[in-house]
Symmetry: C2
Subunit: 606 residues, 2 copies
């Protein structure tokens, strides 16, 4: 079933749900009911607040109607006739839509699009009513339910076999909080029962991997209402993961000829006026702070600061490329509605770098970044990714020659590194072409990952130069790039990707030592000290809980190795190593240590 | 000569200078002229702007007068008589001072204290005019120069043997910028020529070690007017030093049972109202930023954020002590006049930690911090330090019992660690007693170093608890502490302490490789790769400069090891290793590597 056909199925299922609602709640007033990704929704005004119990009833009713193989009957009528019909049916929202069609020839569905963060599929366009010729509109009838709808729909309910109602939410009529709050029911619809159950399984897995829940249960981080939305407090265990990643990141950058720098979190507003951000991205910037009669801004990006470091000396072509890297924490405004755990925040640490190079060096630099990006993704266990090269958009600066040269350089880099890519025509930034990489996680979801952006704008605006072999001042090309994106989002994605079951090199606690009784504390302390001397992260749990409880606790904390130490183990020459999954393996201490150290050394994925 | 006597000498030298100025510039109007640390100054109004040439003339004139063994003649006269005298002398500033004495019985010298950041010695009090009995004031005359002055002074100029005029500066009359700008001449005065020349040598050394100059010539950092005053950009070489210190700091904290955390740079203003900072330290806080109708503050300290992490779970007595450590970058307002390189800035990274413990654990925790602080100071090459225990101030919170207990705990910690200390009575913070450590650098200057502050206030204000053995809610004690202070100031002091000649483990470039000609590039590249594989920081300089020039360049960059690679070295089995100071030592590559690695491993001071 192609996407369009699936969209029709979902839209028809929305009508089916509306028909069931009308049957159970004859007073229902209907808003709109489009198809969305994986399903549909419909908005209603009812005399009562729906409960999960009601959803079951509605679902049952839907099945009953579906089994009757009811027809979706299409009628064309003129606007006056339709208005009469919906007046008779007492449907004020449909009447309002008819008024709009009279006035504008459309119901401006764009303005009443869902406010939920769910992606709306292309088939939503089906619910865009448009005046057909001669002031005619289309009406679809399913049993007693009559809807103003452009269609198309299925012929009958026979094809509707796999659906499930998901949840109830409030939604303002037309997305405007000045309007009445309606009740929205979300549902899933697929062609087959198999597809539906696969999707339900996916949702269940996604829920289990939700980094906000895991962040809490594994004590990795918190976002406190007292502190402020979108601002992350990294707890000790989360900070361990973050530090390991940061150290690894720094070392890899050092190896590849990057130079680390540090810059502050505020700077004069004049810098952001010069850069163009104040004009172009004002809605994402915080209000300036006045210091000694000058305005300062919480930095939304690190670029101007790196330019100032570049400009602190005269640079020659011999110095290029210069690669400044910084784990720079930036602050950008996001509406509170879109904030989401670690993956959408207001303060985040970019793994940022700016490369200053000659235009001849762009390809080689892009190759270096691509290799580093792919190396990073592989090391962190992401096997799949999607790569896109975005080319010149309509509104842009710089000559065609510059664009062609830079675009060719990025293309060359992709081809020489044998990376498969698609071209996103016209999707480049106004200041240059770019490569975006999306990483696919264990559940197949795509996340914004590395990005490489060529920039003609900054060097121009900030008058950045180098001296060429002839002693002439030349503009370098600037490349903005991140390979992880931001520490917050990256670790959020890692948590979901691994469902909290981190590779041994990243996991906050590597070894859990559980003494059976107080008699075994000494032996456990000795072991702990030995492991810690080797740099291993150990939790020697001398609480008075039972061994069974302790093991469950350690398993819930997803600790890779659990060692119970009792009389038996103290007598034996072997440790009983409980691996993830519960298998117990007897090993000598030496064998165990070698195994753990090797896993860390190799950064073994699982 | 005791301090008081030296103060009198310096004050008398100020009068001597005034007499010389009067001789050369008969129109001079005199402001005030106190003794200060190491010397004196005097403020004048003149018809011309003084030049360095004038200073020499004045100095010459001073010597001439001094050699005449002129007497300092003291006269007592009543206010009316004195007013008549200074009217006749046409000295408006002295008349203004006389007016004040008439009105207030004092000239309120405190309000006209020097605005320069120089410390004013106790002898300044000598220049505090006070009405003696029966409206009498004292006048001192030296040759033609007559001054309103309480004295005391030397008997004659005979004793004045060692002085030097230093510099000219502008100074508003009475330090008020609404008043006229006068010209101030600073001078040094000592008892003997030897003491003067020692001090001049000290000043020369201090100038050579100025971290602002070294920061520039070694390309470590910059402070850009475009970015904003007091905000530091760390260049690659400075960032290398900073990263080494940060990593070392983190590892040492980990070893000692601290847990690293990360927190953002803004937070809701409500937190700072709760903490008391908004009321008590408003002048050091930046203006709040409004986000979604709530006010946020650029964080001036990390404490409330660590409290939020502590409070993210219920804590039991079994969990204590909890030690959260963070390299937390904070922002505090400082007047632009007091900003100074890295040592006085507006944005700085505290090496912060907060310990939450029971009141019984305070001593043990303080011992741990003291040991860590002393270990850190020694590792970084500071052999001397001054320790002070500050006790309960007049304005303070908490019961006497709490204060006694905490003060005893800090005392106990100092005594058990055998650290010599003084007691600064009443100098504690309002919320608890504290230990302050000042490190003495190579020139004997004292710098604010580690600090340990016990705090009864925060736990109370934020309702911080733990559950004790009986299941009761108890307030933990909170200890604020830093061991380096701030990365910026600490590295600034390090630069001055070492005059940029860093120990090998800290220095940005450890080995400089200088090929004699192009024929030696390959050999140099090979060596560089070998050294880099071992983690050494190498600069293979393949520029076309002469060997002599290269060596000077590397020496100016204070690189510990310079290796010239030419035909001779390529044939020989030995490297000619040029050490700091210029001594050349032939060594095999193996010997050289072993030496360097050992120095790094041992963190050898020089």
């Amino acid at each position: 079933m192609d996407n369009n056909r699936l969209g029709i199925l979902r839209h028809s299922t929305a009508h089916l749900m509306a028909a069931a609602v009308l049957k159970l709640f004859p007073e229902a007033k209907f808003g709109i009911g489009p198809a969305i990704e994986n399903g549909f929704y419909y908005d209603f005004e009812l005399n009562k607040n729906l409960t999960p119990q009601d959803l079951l009833k509605i679902e049952k009713q839907m099945k009953k109607i579906a089994s009757q193989n009811l027809k979706y009957e299409k009628k064309e009528m003129d606007l006056t006739e339709a208005t009469e019909l919906f007046k008779k049916l007492n449907q004020p929202y449909k009447l309002e839509l008819l008024e709009d069609i009279k006035k504008y020839g459309t119901t401006e569905i764009e303005k009443i699009a869902p406010t939920e963060p769910q992606k709306v599929s292309g088939s939503q366009k089906n619910s865009k009513f448009q005046r057909s010729q001669e002031n005619k509109v289309t009406i679809y009838q399913l049993g007693n339910f009559v809807d103003l709808c452009r269609g198309p729909h299925l012929d009958s309910t026979k094809e509707i076999k796999a659906f499930k109602l998901q949840k109830i939410a409030g939604a303002y009529w037309r997305g405007d909080e000045k309007n009445k709050m309606l009740q929205r029911i979300y549902g899933l619809a697929f062609k087959t029962e198999k597809e539906l159950s696969d999707h339900l399984k996916f949702l269940e897995e996604a829920e289990k991997s939700d980094h906000r829940e895991l962040g809490k249960s594994l004590d990795l981080f918190s976002i406190s209402d007292q502190l402020g939305s979108g601002l992350v407090l990294w707890h000790p265990k989360g900070a361990i993961i973050r530090r390991i990643i940061e150290d690894f990141w720094k070392d890899e950058h050092k190896k590849r000829g990057y130079q680390l720098v540090y810059s502050p979190h505020i700077g004069k507003l004049a810098l952001w006026k010069k850069s163009g951000h104040w004009d172009f991205y004002r809605e994402n910037l915080y209000a300036p702070i006045k210091i000694d009669e000058e305005e300062y801004l919480l930095k939304p990006m690190n670029c101007p600061f790196h330019i100032l470091i570049y400009q602190s000396q005269l640079r020659s072509y011999r110095d290029l490329p210069i690669r400044y890297a910084e784990l720079g924490t930036v602050y950008r405004y996001e509406r509170s509605g879109v904030l989401h755990g670690l993956t959408r925040v207001r303060g985040f640490t970019q793994d940022d770098a700016h490369l200053f190079c000659t235009s001849q060096q762009v390809e080689a630099e892009a190759i270096g970044v691509l290799k580093l990006a792919i190396f990073m993704m592989k090391t962190f266990g992401f096997r799949d990714y999607q790569v896109a090269l975005s080319t010149r958009p309509e509104k842009s600066i710089g000559s065609s020659e510059m664009w062609d040269k830079a675009t060719q350089a990025l293309k060359g880099a992709l081809e020489k590194t044998k990376v498969k890519y698609e071209i996103d025509k016209g999707e480049g930034v106004f200041y240059g072409p770019k490569i975006d990489i999306k990483t696919l996680d264990a559940l197949g979801r795509a996340w914004q990952g590395p990005t490489i952006q060529v920039d003609f704008n900054f060097p121009e605006r900030f008058d950045v130069n180098y001296i060429d072999e002839q002693g002439k001042k030349i503009r370098p090309v600037m490349i903005h790039r991140t390979v992880l994106g931001a520490m917050e989002r990256f670790i959020g994605v890692l948590i979901e990707h691994y469902k909290g079951v981190f590779p041994v090199w990243l996991t906050p606690v590597q070894i859990y030592l559980a003494p059976v009784g107080k008699d075994h504390w000494k032996a456990v302390d000795k072991l702990a000290k030995e492991f810690e001397t080797l740099g291993l992260r150990v939790w020697a749990d001398e609480s008075r809980e039972t061994i069974g409880y302790k093991i469950r606790k350690a398993e819930n904390q997803k600790i890779p190795y659990i060692l119970v130490i009792g009389d038996k183990e103290m007598k034996s020459k072997k440790l009983n190593v409980r691996l993830r999954g519960g298998k117990v393996k007897p090993m000598t201490q030496k064998e165990f240590i070698e195994m753990v150290l090797r896993e860390i050394q190799d950064k073994k994925i699982r």
